[in-house]
């Protein structure tokens, strides 16, 4: 059986369960790339243009580390997830970009463009077809994957709701999951926070049915789907937590817009904005985190 490689970057963190369950239902073995590390980032940097964001550089590093290790590497192309909305251009061009950087690489691709009636379901059936599965088999696998994804989401939401009810100080980690969960970016922050008696709340664990309602509270129309979710999550959680840490990778177009919205409309919420670029020294980061925690504690603490 042929192996599909999953680069542990960008969309992996959004679709982990969906992807893994889909391939599991089809009995296709998968191989996930290692956690992000500096060597992998160096490799990614060498292959990307300097204007690419840190997350994209890391993604290319992950693809590189899977090269020659599996039969396919999954690189989807997403143009739009909602009608009249868009996702970051990185996701529009990801397939073409990787194809150009690694012409020899065997890419497994699917294409979602809701704007032009190309749904996720159609995309997965087409992907199943590439791997040699019938329409019916792929359809069933997709249905199974969707149900697993739903169960996983509900479980996470329930856990998070329990965390929200504790008496500990709660900190919302707000950002794209490919940044907040990455070992070199957000995980260095959540690891630091785990030494303190605080509960960590993640912005991506959020009931999707509430997205439009809460996003409207900050702006009537947000064009970028993934950032609309971030804004909605911010409006939903901001009064339920003690502080918010916003994590961005540099340079991010949509984030530069929505982070500004958050800072202007935060009202009394305590927000710390951290932008990651090169990851050499973390002393400036620690100063900001420490003082942020001191502030949340209120008063003079040691």
């Amino acid at each position: 059986m042929k192996t599909v490689g999953l680069p542990k970057g960008l969309l992996y963190y959004r679709y982990e369960t969906l992807w893994k369950s889909f391939f599991k239902a089809l009995n296709v073995p998968v191989m996930v790339s290692e956690e992000s590390n500096l060597l992998l980032l160096e490799k990614g940097k060498k292959k990307s243009i300097d204007e690419a964001c840190l997350s994209l550089k890391l993604f290319i590093g992950h693809v590189e580390s899977l090269k020659n290790k599996c039969d396919y590497v999954l690189v989807p192309r997403i143009y739009s997830l909602e009608k009249d909305e868009q996702v970051c251009t990185n996701f529009n061009c990801l397939y073409d970009l990787i194809k150009n950087v690694y012409p020899e690489l065997n890419i497994l691709n699917y294409n979602i463009d809701v704007k032009h009636h190309k749904s996720e379901k159609k995309a997965f059936i087409a992907m199943g077809n590439t791997l040699g599965f019938s329409k019916l088999k792929s359809k069933k696998a997709y249905a199974f994957a969707k149900s697993q994804e739903k169960i996983e989401k509900e479980k996470k939401e329930q856990n998070q709701n329990i965390k929200l009810k504790t008496n500990k100080k709660k900190i919302l980690i707000l950002g794209h999951p490919y940044n907040t969960k990455d070992c070199l970016i957000g995980k260095s922050i959540t690891d630091f926070l785990s030494n303190y008696p605080v509960e960590i709340i993640y912005s991506d664990i959020f009931n999707e049915k509430l997205v439009n309602k809460y996003a409207k509270k900050i702006s009537p129309k947000v064009h970028w789907t993934m950032n609309k979710e971030l804004l909605a999550s911010f409006m939903y959680y901001k009064d339920k937590v003690d502080g918010v840490i916003v994590i961005s990778a540099f340079p991010c177009g949509p984030d530069s817009l929505t982070n500004e919205m958050i800072l202007r409309k935060k009202a009394n919420a305590k927000v710390l904005l951290l932008t990651f670029e090169e990851l050499n020294s973390n002393i400036a980061l620690l100063t900001r985190l420490e003082s942020f925690l001191d502030m949340l504690k209120g008063g003079i603490h040691l």
Partner: protein, 315 residues
């Protein structure tokens, strides 16, 4: 009597104080770091020692803050190693109990701290760009051939400050050269620079924050009367500067060291010891962490910089 040392090791200057049990400063020292924090701290300790009577004052704890706080804290066996924001807030509060806003512009940092009833409610720091900080002013002073210490007085003599774009140091510099070539007078340009520092600070660091009175202005740049006046004009509020404004971080961590109530024997003879630091690249995993090892008289004191335990075994 018990005494507590607080040391604030910044990028440009190193400040040290000794306080007594009433939080009063009984000795202080202020000198340039000159890229060598260890040497600067040795000098500070020497100066502090000369100002007190060791028969009467017994140093029982040390606190450090500033960008070299960890290194110096390890070196001196500090009981408190605290970030600059908290240290500044606590130091300032001990002298001005009702302070609501602290503006701090240093060598490469600028920050704002908002307080209410003696509790920090909000703060912000500049991003990694040093536009509008002390190093920007001193590089422009060099270009104009004037001592940066004289900037403030010259700025006050100007009646029509020139507009200078200060959002970015590079743009400001080309703007400044352009204005000089156009024939603007030097004092108007200097006043313009002071204005732009204040404006840049309010537009960036203090963006979206409400600055309530009393406002206290600290850090090296607060010694510049031109910038202080610019702040007062723009904010239409009185801005307080303190003769001891540069010592607030050191004072704050000395107070924290006192309040922590942990005593650790300290001897001024530590300045005679030989301290050595070295950077080792750990090859244990692909992250290649740079581990800093600090040695005192050839023996390892501590090491840091490693992401996991593997890095802690370096000698």
């Amino acid at each position: 009597m018990k005494g507590y040392i607080g040391i604030d090791i910044g990028s440009i200057s190193t400040k040290g104080v000794i306080i007594n049990e009433d939080e009063k400063i009984i000795a202080s020292s202020y000198l340039w770091t000159e890229g060598n924090p260890v040497l600067a701290v040795k000098k500070v300790l020497k100066e502090l020692r000369q100002q007190i009577d060791e028969e009467i004052i017994n140093i029982v704890a040390v606190g450090t803050t500033g960008s070299a706080r960890k290194l110096i804290g390890t070196m001196l066996g500090a009981t408190v190693i605290k970030n600059e924001i908290t240290a500044h807030a606590i130091g300032t509060l001990s002298l001005h109990k009702d302070v609501r806003t602290i503006i701090e512009i240093g060598g490469q940092d600028s920050k704002i701290i908002l307080l209410e009833d003696g509790v920090v409610t909000d703060y912000a720091m500049n991003t990694l760009c040093a536009a509008g900080t002390g190093s920007f002013l001193s590089s422009q002073a060099k270009r104009l051939g004037i001592r940066v210490e004289d900037f403030g007085e010259i700025a006050l003599t100007s009646k029509h400050p020139t507009n200078i774009a200060a959002r970015c140091t590079v743009f400001a510099e080309s703007d400044l050269v352009h204005k000089l070539q156009m024939g603007y007078s030097q004092k108007d340009i200097i006043a313009g620079l002071c204005n732009s520092v204040a404006q840049n600070y309010l537009n960036n660091v203090a963006k979206g924050k409400k600055l309530e009175s009393p406002i206290i202005f600290q850090g090296g740049v607060s010694k510049n009367i031109g910038v202080k006046t610019a702040f007062e004009k723009i904010l239409n509020e009185k801005v307080i500067t303190d003769e001891n404004g540069h010592l607030m971080g050191a004072l704050g961590c000395a107070i924290l060291a006192m309040k922590k109530n942990v005593e650790r024997p300290f001897s001024f003879n530590v300045s005679n010891s030989d301290f050595e630091t070295k950077a080792v690249e750990c090859k244990g995993c692909p992250n290649h962490c740079e581990v800093i090892v600090v040695k005192k008289d050839g023996e390892k004191l501590d090491s840091w910089g490693n992401r996991c335990d593997k890095g802690s075994y370096f000698k």
